[in-house]
Symmetry: C3
Subunit: 653 residues, 3 copies
Amino acid sequence: MLGVCYYPEHWPQSMWKKDAEEMRELGLTYVRLAEFAWSKMEPEEGVYDFEWLDSAIQILAEKGLKVILCTPTATPPKWLIDKFPDILPVDINTGVTRGFGSRRHYDFSSKNYHRESMRISEVMATRYANNPAVVGWQTDNELACHDTTHSGSENAKHAFHLWLEKYYGDIDSLNKAWGTIFWSMEYQRFDQIELPILAVTETHPSHQLAYRRFSSEQVINYHNDMIDVLSKHCPKHFMTHNFIPMTDTQADNFALAEKLDFACYDNYPLGRTDLFFADSDTDTFKRYMRTGHPDFSSCSFDQIRGISNDNFWIMEQQPGPVNWAHHNPRPLPGMVRLWSWEAVAHGAETICYFRWRQAAFGQEQMHAGIKRVDNSKSPAWFETEQFRDELAETGFDLKAKVHTSVAIIMSIENQWVTEIERQGDSFSHQLVEFEYYSALRQLGIDVDFVSSNDNLADYKMIVVPCMPVVSDELIDKLADSQAHVIFGPRSGAKTDELTFAPNLGPGNIQRLIPIQVESTETLRADCTMKMLYKGASYLGSRWNEALSIGDKVNTVAQFHNKQAAVVQNDKVTYVATLCEIEFLRVLLNDIALACDIKTYQLPEDIRLSQRGNFGVFFNYSGQAKRVEFDRDVEFVLGSEEIAPYSLSIFKRN
Amino acid sequence: MLGVCYYPEHWPQSMWKKDAEEMRELGLTYVRLAEFAWSKMEPEEGVYDFEWLDSAIQILAEKGLKVILCTPTATPPKWLIDKFPDILPVDINTGVTRGFGSRRHYDFSSKNYHRESMRISEVMATRYANNPAVVGWQTDNELACHDTTHSGSENAKHAFHLWLEKYYGDIDSLNKAWGTIFWSMEYQRFDQIELPILAVTETHPSHQLAYRRFSSEQVINYHNDMIDVLSKHCPKHFMTHNFIPMTDTQADNFALAEKLDFACYDNYPLGRTDLFFADSDTDTFKRYMRTGHPDFSSCSFDQIRGISNDNFWIMEQQPGPVNWAHHNPRPLPGMVRLWSWEAVAHGAETICYFRWRQAAFGQEQMHAGIKRVDNSKSPAWFETEQFRDELAETGFDLKAKVHTSVAIIMSIENQWVTEIERQGDSFSHQLVEFEYYSALRQLGIDVDFVSSNDNLADYKMIVVPCMPVVSDELIDKLADSQAHVIFGPRSGAKTDELTFAPNLGPGNIQRLIPIQVESTETLRADCTMKMLYKGASYLGSRWNEALSIGDKVNTVAQFHNKQAAVVQNDKVTYVATLCEIEFLRVLLNDIALACDIKTYQLPEDIRLSQRGNFGVFFNYSGQAKRVEFDRDVEFVLGSEEIAPYSLSIFKRN
Amino acid sequence: MLGVCYYPEHWPQSMWKKDAEEMRELGLTYVRLAEFAWSKMEPEEGVYDFEWLDSAIQILAEKGLKVILCTPTATPPKWLIDKFPDILPVDINTGVTRGFGSRRHYDFSSKNYHRESMRISEVMATRYANNPAVVGWQTDNELACHDTTHSGSENAKHAFHLWLEKYYGDIDSLNKAWGTIFWSMEYQRFDQIELPILAVTETHPSHQLAYRRFSSEQVINYHNDMIDVLSKHCPKHFMTHNFIPMTDTQADNFALAEKLDFACYDNYPLGRTDLFFADSDTDTFKRYMRTGHPDFSSCSFDQIRGISNDNFWIMEQQPGPVNWAHHNPRPLPGMVRLWSWEAVAHGAETICYFRWRQAAFGQEQMHAGIKRVDNSKSPAWFETEQFRDELAETGFDLKAKVHTSVAIIMSIENQWVTEIERQGDSFSHQLVEFEYYSALRQLGIDVDFVSSNDNLADYKMIVVPCMPVVSDELIDKLADSQAHVIFGPRSGAKTDELTFAPNLGPGNIQRLIPIQVESTETLRADCTMKMLYKGASYLGSRWNEALSIGDKVNTVAQFHNKQAAVVQNDKVTYVATLCEIEFLRVLLNDIALACDIKTYQLPEDIRLSQRGNFGVFFNYSGQAKRVEFDRDVEFVLGSEEIAPYSLSIFKRN
């Protein structure tokens, strides 16, 4: 299904009917409304104006469109801030209050804001509970965007004290759990504890981890309370939220999505590629600047599918150049269509484009829309038409599930651990995870991102790129599963409180493979080390561990100084270093074959995704490329010769 | 004429007479005094000490020197700050008060400081109104230097509220003009509006633009009030101000200069080159590090001439290494003379050197002077002598005007627009303007910088490198003129309130050439695109627009993907991309020839400037270079073979 | 002798006895205790708990180990901060209070903290004065670490006022000494003077210098008062302090060490190399990333020896990867042993390793120890054993002194001068000093770092890499000495108040060599200049002076533009530029030979140190290297073929 994000309040009411007609013409089903519209809905405290929204919904409904409403809580209006200044969050890096003037200017720990957010949500829910055109709700907008999960306010400090007391029970338990004896930080009372910010040098890692857990819970509690308010009045409406990349929410994404009917992702391939690959050399950067990196959005799709309780949606799909990256190129012709298919191939059920018409004012006026400011049609219109028609022609099943036997375990807590104790400037949790993911994708392998709480029994291969904290429960589960498990370096090295594994790294993973990390080093990214695997030479880098190796463990790759780089037994492969993707591709291919998982030798820049009975080849290059593929499939779009910046779709019988 | 900046209060009175004698020996006419001397003139509140200044003026006058006095307001003394702490400005990036201890520590919105500034100005004006040696006044010093146009103070906020009310009349007009409906920013009252700083993410562009307009007016009002005070008491004295580069004042330079008899520029070729070209590679950087870039100072000269009501002055001319750039090289022998001639060739009437004698203490003690700390003569002395003699020998007419048929339209509001909505990190308004300017200068074309309010009727070619906001009046004027107009990308794309042109870019320029900007992209500076012009290949980069093209518009350059890069009709050339200077040189040459404007194929590093009956060739290279030139001119200094780091002067009969 | 830093409070008491036994097994003599243990010793105000410490000392004593106690003042506990919040320092770059949560969170100007620090010191001193196992005290920990010498607090401001009044007597003297007439900064009273921070632009250099002098004295007074408290109660115990590199203390290191029996250094070759050489290219960086730069630690050893009243100690020796640099590599096998020998060869009497056992929690859990978290032995254990045995076998005399005829004059005040008035971004005082030092070391020359107050009579060659402020007393002393003196650029250029030398640079050095600095330029580091010395070409860079040259002065090196680069007379060599180490090596070799100082043509990466009757060759490379050496020495360890990453020791008869 298709949809769009629409801000009728930005345009004369005289345009709305024509807009609705054109939305139908384009084949849209859903229209998202009212995001950021608090000051329009409640121009003064307690004075509501919903007539404009009623009209907009009615006009859309008359054309058969279904409406998704948003709570407007990402943008509290000025009169509310003036009444309750403690709504404003405090920057944890400077201690300065983050003022009114943009968006997300609220503190999750402000009780005033919590109350007001639930109030406006309830007012909306009550009003639209029985409006037949309204089918669902988006909570807030892009929770955590602009680094808003953390606040350094007094509100946050008081809430942190209560959270700590609840979590640790008594102060001695906290002192012991953290090891506050280090640097004379023993506390007598919870209310003595500062936020772990603005100190002379780095603060205690356990203290930082607790603060991140607390902050994450503040977001989740706020969000869950909002869902409860909405669900109470609108039990038949679906509830969703539009997520930014998992790595950026700084909250437990699985928990955040738990009460949602399904999760949405806001997909901006070019903006994200510009930020994530900002340090790349000219050739690499230029290569993907107008297509996005072939694995970046896919990775987010697979991650959002992992947290969603049903097939996910794209709530905001980039339709052209955006305004917020360092540089904002124009997508190559065909890419909006390709990205839409890519989302669908990874499990999306609905694609909504952001936005209907480019805004004529405000911070995002350089962000493209399906229509331009002068109401002409941008290229995205035509690519959406093509995508709409291809969906119909191919009969692609948008309800189907993605099935795969390969999973990556994802965990925000472990991301925090690596961010808090970075140990080397060249270490990036997100990059490490991405490298393993990209290697799998280059092999044509579909990937599930799972929580360690999920059922893992059905997987043949489980990849754990970077998981310093591994629970005993997970070890049990992995031991019981049939899967071969691949651990990246640093796995199991830490306890749940970010203290050192008493039996050294990889901690309780030693139950699966008898090895110990004798020491760890980090290196500048350009200071690589040659390693040998099956006679070929590859590069290790950034993070290297020295292992001692127990019974029935084989060294399968080693550095030139004879230090083991990769070790293996029947159950586990442990990669004791970071390394180039090329090596991971070769290593994971060998393991996959041993696990009886099909892999593909895809041409460069070609990716393959399979969902239900369908499969899609994507070509991120400017040259047509031929794939060798199973003879029992039928191409329903394109052929084995994948056109440049295009795709081919096959169906299994 | 020649002059110098002199701080007698830094030296024993016993030296003053000899100083005055030597100034005469050097051929100086003017001496600037009393800048920064507030604490000396008023050591305690209301207790004045002018005897030292009276003496200094008398001693100089006895040697026939003329005195320019400065208001000392760039450096309020400590007792004044202690009495009125609200004088101190607030840093807009941190919210921290910018304290006493250097200079320019005042807030243009402080009423206390406004009153005190006018008081000390009036005290000085009253005292020296009838002193026959005093001929003119410099207001303050380098207004806006050190980013002081903007303050984040409560004073500024209150003044902003009043300004907004005056500008918009009622709050609904403001809400509508800005589009505050975006992100729920609708206001009920003017006093709700914060300064657009320290928010969670970027603030509203219209809000930012209003704040910049307000801040500019605060500077202008302060400055105009000071001129009024001085003029009232000293009606026969000239009034001037020493400007920093136009781009750095963050104020409307035309308005700022309006009440002045003429404008001055402080010319520091090496310091400015070090800052502006800081990211250049070794060869490029090294090439000009001891000469300055051949077009940087020239550009400032032409800009200051543009805002001046008469021929401009250089109030501070770099005489040797300075102290404030990242690196501070020594000028190559001859460059102080060359720079002096360069200023004169671009329209300067008087060159004052900064400073007479290198300071023995304080922040600028590493800044060279004409004389050294030990009172010996630095190389600048001898180069000034040479320049003095050459002025006399050549009979160069310092009263003559520069006449040219080529203008660049300059606008601080448009600079603001591009700074507020940068859209790509690789976009720099100053650089774009400089590229067009440099291309013209490499063709030997003299350039006027004009305001869109100026009379443009006499120009044959008008260049608009970057002007998102174009008024209807300007379009009318351009339509009526005979000139061919060259617009750079982004022109006309915005309204006066920094909202999107309703008819898309280039907005009302479409009245001159029927094209529309269908989309805009920005690219990393190193990710260039090849474009073809008359069979040759050039590089576009950073900012590219996709155009739709109407009747009688020709595509004269296009990218390899067939996208138009430059389009043209009889009246207008529209360049839809940023590009290398080499291309601009070729394109502008072709247009100039078509407009019957003479261009020159100058050797590399050679520049030509013409003023009155004289013309000067400058050689910024280390090799002698020969120019082919009109046969009807007579060389009065040098010859067609321009010596390294030197110049040749010719005269037309 | 050998020792270790031990934190028994981090481990169960049940482990202590075994720890003590193993310490003896390893051959250790000293154990440092109680650092950072304030919250353990005084868990609540006035409630002391020393039983654990008594026990730990007793257990260690039973095994014959000697204890060094630390005052715990680097980590005031939370209850103390809550009682006296004014203990917290203020960041001079942001004005924000530096909070509790890490370490060194105290302001040297807080009277409350001064009193409390002396109190806890006295409590400890009283308790352990007569404990026979306790032999000495370490004051605080790494004074000034984390940029804590300077605070922007109100406490600091008030103390600064008192200091200024004492230093200058009356305000007119201060005004005159600084030259506050510059930029209207004349003061009427001391209490008007702000700290020289957070101003609009750079503050007055004399003001900054006074603030640094004041801040240094605050550290020294605090430290001296603590020594007085300890010494009063423990007159037979030695007093020491563990210094960070001299350049980082921002205090007068000679004065700071004056009351100590000897000084200690905390030696982290890899962490320091990573920070100091952070901008190096890949090959250079990679070459030393696991060995440390061959001259960095040596330089610190020689500097610490210079401030020590007896042979120095290493109080903390890196035993493996650390946690605090940008990247933290593993030392190559053998380097811990090599570094230990290197310290000894440069004059160390005792080497203590940091730490006994890697911490299981807190900020430093990734910092290696002699033992791992699981109590297994890390490689450092075995290298310490080897070092212990080699010390015994070679009979190396740890009481011997280093004797050399070459000295470098070191001065924190001059470092401040260059930091305050940097003049070029490419100028680094530490780097300049290091370049001269490294050149001498590459010639096999042992180097003393001395104060200008020291007796210099016995040196043959005195090197002054960068000393803008040179006292008349030093000139007298140098004139009276037999030594040839080598001055780097900038020497003598400033007065004691950071004003300009009235007779130009090199100021009073002109009494030794009649030259004058006519101008100074700074250049970007990559913009080098070729210079010629004895027919060979070298590179000058970054800082160049133009000299006028008087009688009997020879130009021995000059730039291609004929400008003098190095001038010389019988007494003095003046190097008027910064230059590559390779040139300094050649120049200093020639001067050394002329001074009858023996030099060596050592292979690359080989260094030689001599102490007493012993000499040690160190090999920082991966290849065995042969040295040609005097025939009258006997190798007691290794041979003339120095093994890779190893050393050879010879003895003179």
